[in-house]
């Protein structure tokens, strides 16, 4: 990260208040390397890297939890783990994979790639961006604290259905506080997601390079925008639902307590008003990544760009109109059931349209079968398979049979692993050279693809039949004469192969980071602006803010080199006349504010009120100091002299 920074970059200068005159408490950190620089960073690339590393760590944790589940189900009447541990494992596996692996890994790409694709120097609110990451980490810690504490891990399922989250049900086991930890952790994660998404929204709408009109935006940036909209509008519903559970548990309210007049079904509505858009929050970034990779390795522009964009918008819009298809068996009445059935069938149309666009992109392309392309093609095939079973659920009578069976488990793993995870793994391969200047060897990459691909299908394809044969999800063990044994054994075998494949993928990535083949800028002959900058990217991204003349802006630059060079020289002179490039200063306060939230929420979950008040105090102190600190900043002069590419002065 940021190896291109030289000592001369460190002579940053705070425009608004000279750092030298301030005492320690109010001093702005100007470290460019070391731990302090990471804690106080406002650089979107560094924050993206932090998101990525954290997400991959939790991806492994979630994977280990999945392997425990599969091991328990390997043979009938197994006693590998207890029923209680099994409940904790499936709850934490889902919560971890959704909130701590896929969403933050998408956020890593939003942070790292999106500002580069739109030709911006940073996001609209750099300090808020750092805050979003630290709050995410706080939420992740709160959710996983049960690993190290006798409170235990959450065990209520990731739906957290009432009344399982009620006080009466959680005191039955040791883990009395585990549900409180789940509730607080998710609320804190919600703050992170909403704050981060608001930042991305403003960045995409307001920070585009000159000439980058909305209909020239790279598709990944479009999907980032839709994802941000979905998060901003859907997370408040779950926040309210969680607040109500929190009050039921701690302040004796009766929102979901039947004995006090509450309605447990209300939880389901509030949860799925969030929960269904959430599945599009998980898949839209993946669709964006695929829409970048397929054209690049097909040597063709994306087929039907406007259709891809508009279908994304339609998915985002309809995503809010289908939540009750998760509730067909709750007895909503025929009108509601029919309406949500139709809406669910309708949302398959824009999704199917996208698949035809990808096939159209591949059609008569000069396909380069590199590793990112392999993962992308695997995505298209498996996402389609998962989509097919999705359509089957949309018919309410069929859903009544399939509900809460392993058929559902097979379906959503095909769209979440075959879909989201494959696209994210493809994205890591694709953008690795941009981030670290090294490329994964094709041989190792393809091996990892095939092991993961085979392991995945072996794990989840048999689950379709398990479900049709009546095996319920979340079941802790089963009897040998149910006829589920062989399919379960196949699935467990597949899960081990999948685990080996993922482990191999990580080893390859770590090896590549240290010893991989070095590549220069733009190794894939890319089409979008992120490939136009030096490798690895400097802190200021672009020496000269690019002017965009067409869709696939970098492709246009490559084919119009002479005029672009003249344009850049003119703009560099203009920048210098305006005092150079203005860069934001680092800040302690996003970190401090988030730390206050961690302390406060954790203490509240353990019912330690003085600690909660101290945490709240730290949060307010951090926010106050953040506000009076001001934006700060320093100037860079990347194009001033030939020999010294990025000297700083003021």
């Amino acid at each position: 990260m940021d190896q291109s920074l030289t000592k001369s970059d460190f002579i940053g200068h705070d425009d608004h208040a000279p750092a030298a005159k301030r005492s320690w408490m109010f001093a702005r950190p100007d470290h460019k390397t070391g731990i302090v620089s990471w804690l106080t960073t406002v650089d979107h690339k560094r924050i993206g890297f932090l998101y990525g590393i954290t997400a991959l760590f939790f991806f492994l944790v979630g994977g280990a939890e999945a392997l425990m589940i599969r091991t328990q189900l390997a043979v009938p009447n197994n006693t590998f783990i207890s029923a209680q541990t099994y409940n904790e494992m499936f709850t934490m596996h889902a919560t971890t994979m959704i909130f701590l692996a896929v969403m933050p890994l998408s956020a890593a790409f939003f942070n790292y790639i999106m500002p580069l694709q739109i030709g911006a120097r940073d996001v609209a609110f750099p300090r808020l961006n750092g805050f979003a990451f630290w709050v995410f980490l706080a939420g992740a810690i709160i959710l996983n604290v049960g690993f190290f504490h006798k409170a235990g891990l959450p065990d209520v399922g990731w739906f957290g259905y009432a009344p399982m989250t009620a006080k009466a049900f959680s005191s039955e086991f040791v883990g009395d506080n585990s549900t409180d930890l789940w509730v607080m952790g998710l609320q804190v994660l919600g703050v992170s997601s909403v704050v981060g998404s608001l930042n991305f929204l403003v960045t995409i709408i307001n920070m585009r390079a000159p000439g980058l009109t909305m209909m020239r935006l790279p598709v990944f940036t479009w999907m980032t925008l839709f994802t941000a909209f979905l998060i901003v509008l859907s997370f408040p519903a779950i926040t309210i639902a969680l607040v109500e559970v929190m009050m039921d548990r701690n302040f004796g309210t009766n929102f979901f307590e039947v004995s006090g007049g509450g309605l447990p079904i209300l939880w389901q509505h509030l949860f799925w008003v969030f929960g269904h858009p959430e599945v599009y929050i998980l898949i839209l970034p993946a669709m964006g990544i695929i829409s970048e990779i397929l054209p690049c390795f097909s040597r063709k522009p994306l087929f039907g760009y406007p259709i891809v964009v508009f279908s994304g918008a339609v998915i985002g819009f309809l995503g809010f109109g289908v939540w009750s298809h998760h509730m067909f068996t709750t007895g909503m009445g025929t009108v509601a059931t029919a309406a949500f059935s139709m809406a669910t069938m309708t949302i398959a149309v824009p999704t199917g349209v996208k698949i035809f666009n990808w096939i159209g992109t591949l059609w008569k392309g000069h396909l380069m079968m590199r590793t990112p392309m392999m993962f992308a093609l695997g995505f298209v095939w498996m996402f389609m398979t998962g989509g097919m079973s999705g359509i089957m659920h949309s018919a309410a009578p069929a859903d009544a049979q399939q509900q809460d069976s392993y058929f559902i488990v097979a379906h959503f793993h095909y769209v979440l692993i075959g879909g989201s995870i494959f696209a994210l793994l493809a994205g890591i391969h694709y953008w690795f050279p941009l981030m670290f200047g090294r490329k994964v060897s094709e041989k190792a990459g393809k091996w990892s693809f095939w092991i993961i691909f085979v392991g995945f299908n072996l794990t989840f394809f048999p689950m379709h039949f398990l479900g049709l044969n009546g095996m319920p999800r979340r079941t802790f063990t089963y009897d040998g004469n149910m006829g589920w044994t062989s399919a379960n054994q196949l699935a467990t075998l597949g899960s081990y192969i999948l685990g080996i494949g993922i482990a191999y993928y990580f080893i390859v990535m770590i090896y590549t980071y240290f010893k991989g083949e070095k590549v220069g800028r733009d190794p894939w002959d890319g089409r979008t602006l992120e490939w136009s900058i030096p490798n690895p990217p400097p802190a200021h991204n672009f020496d000269v803010t690019p002017t965009v003349h067409a869709r696939d802006a970098f492709w246009y630059e490559k084919t119009h080199q002479a005029e672009i060079a003249a344009e850049k020289a003119k703009k560099a002179a203009e920048d210098e006349a305006h005092g150079g490039i203005h860069m934001p200063s680092n800040s302690w306060f996003p970190f401090i504010t988030a730390a206050g939230m961690l302390i406060g929420s954790l203490c509240f979950a353990f019912h330690y009120i003085p600690g909660a008040i101290v945490g709240l105090g730290i949060t307010f102190f951090g926010a106050w100091m953040w506000s009076v600190e001001g934006p700060g900043g320093y100037h860079l002069h990347p194009t001033k002299s030939d020999g010294d590419a990025s000297s700083a002065s003021h």
Partner: protein
């Protein structure tokens, strides 16, 4: 008038040439956040309505509890605070810091009066009406919905105070340190004045309700009464003219973003007030 305003010349607050759309980033952020907040309050209001329309047997009748006159009064005060907020935005767009300060202070005081009304109301409903968070779903939804709105108002007041104190940032304090320390003292005096003032005010209401009279009130609460006076004095001392300040038209967008938030919280109350207080849904068995 700030020295910035004198040198900065004309600033167009609705157009920012450095952004793609011309809309300032902070303003766009605030609009997007308010969209999110619509869903937030929407979920709470939906929860309240579901339980109001289908009350479990034995629910209390809100008509026995509410004092529509009192709540109408505090609603009026809250709406008027929006007017003062709009005047503050208008003043700072013209670089008029003195008027901005007065209007911000007025908004703060009106916001506090509304919060005070809510504190009184909650206290009254619990003590006299016997309505608590836990003894009925009506209580649960009422306190959660109006309490969340109150929290929004309280955050708005804190933010207003921060902005108000920022209007005192002196131009010549180049290291910013002395001002931050003074700002913190200013804030502490303010927080003290609110807490102690609220306490003495509620004590006065209590003495009046119990029929104790003014003599009893002053003899029992003279320390807190004196403290309130002293803290208000400290606030006035802090508010004296500090010479040229580093707050002007350039901050107009900060004040405007805060104003958007404040107006939104008021508008949400215009929905909550009829839904919770005015409509008579309840059909008791």
């Amino acid at each position: 008038m700030s020295s910035h305003a004198a040198t900065a010349g004309h600033i167009d607050h609705h157009h920012d040439a450095t952004t793609s759309t011309g809309i300032p980033n902070k303003k766009l952020f605030m609009w997007a956040f308010l969209a999110s907040d619509c869903m937030f309050f929407g979920s709470l209001i939906a929860t309240h309505l579901i339980y109001r329309l289908h009350p479990p047997a034995g629910s209390p009748d809100p008509r026995d509890l509410f004092s529509i006159e009192l709540t109408s009064g505090s609603t009026f005060i809250l709406l008027m605070s929006s007017l003062l907020m709009a005047l503050a935005v208008n003043a700072i767009q013209k670089g008029n810091v003195a008027t901005t300060r007065k209007m911000l202070l007025g908004t703060i005081i009106f916001g506090l009066i509304f919060l005070g009304g809510q504190v009184y109301e909650f206290n009254h409903f619990v003590k006299v009406g016997g309505l608590t968070l836990s003894n009925s779903v009506f209580g649960s939804t009422f306190y959660t919905l109006t309490g969340t709105h109150g929290t929004h108002v309280a955050i708005g007041v804190l933010w207003l105070v921060l902005m108000y104190i920022r209007t005192f940032k002196p131009t010549d304090d180049s290291n910013g340190q002395g001002w931050i320390a003074k700002g913190a003292l200013h804030f502490l005096a303010f927080a003290g004045a609110v807490v102690v003032g609220m306490y003495t005010l509620l004590a006065l209401v209590h003495a009046y309700e119990e029929g104790h009279g003014l003599a009893y009130y002053f003899s029992h609460h003279f320390i807190s009464f004196g403290g309130t006076i002293a803290l208000i004095g400290a606030l006035i001392w802090f508010a004296r003219s500090p010479g040229p300040v580093d707050f002007g038209e350039a901050n107009a967008i900060d004040v405007e973003s805060m104003g958007l938030y404040w107006h939104f919280v008021d508008i949400v109350w215009i929905v909550i007030f009829p839904v919770v207080y005015l409509l008579e849904y309840i059909v008791l068995p």
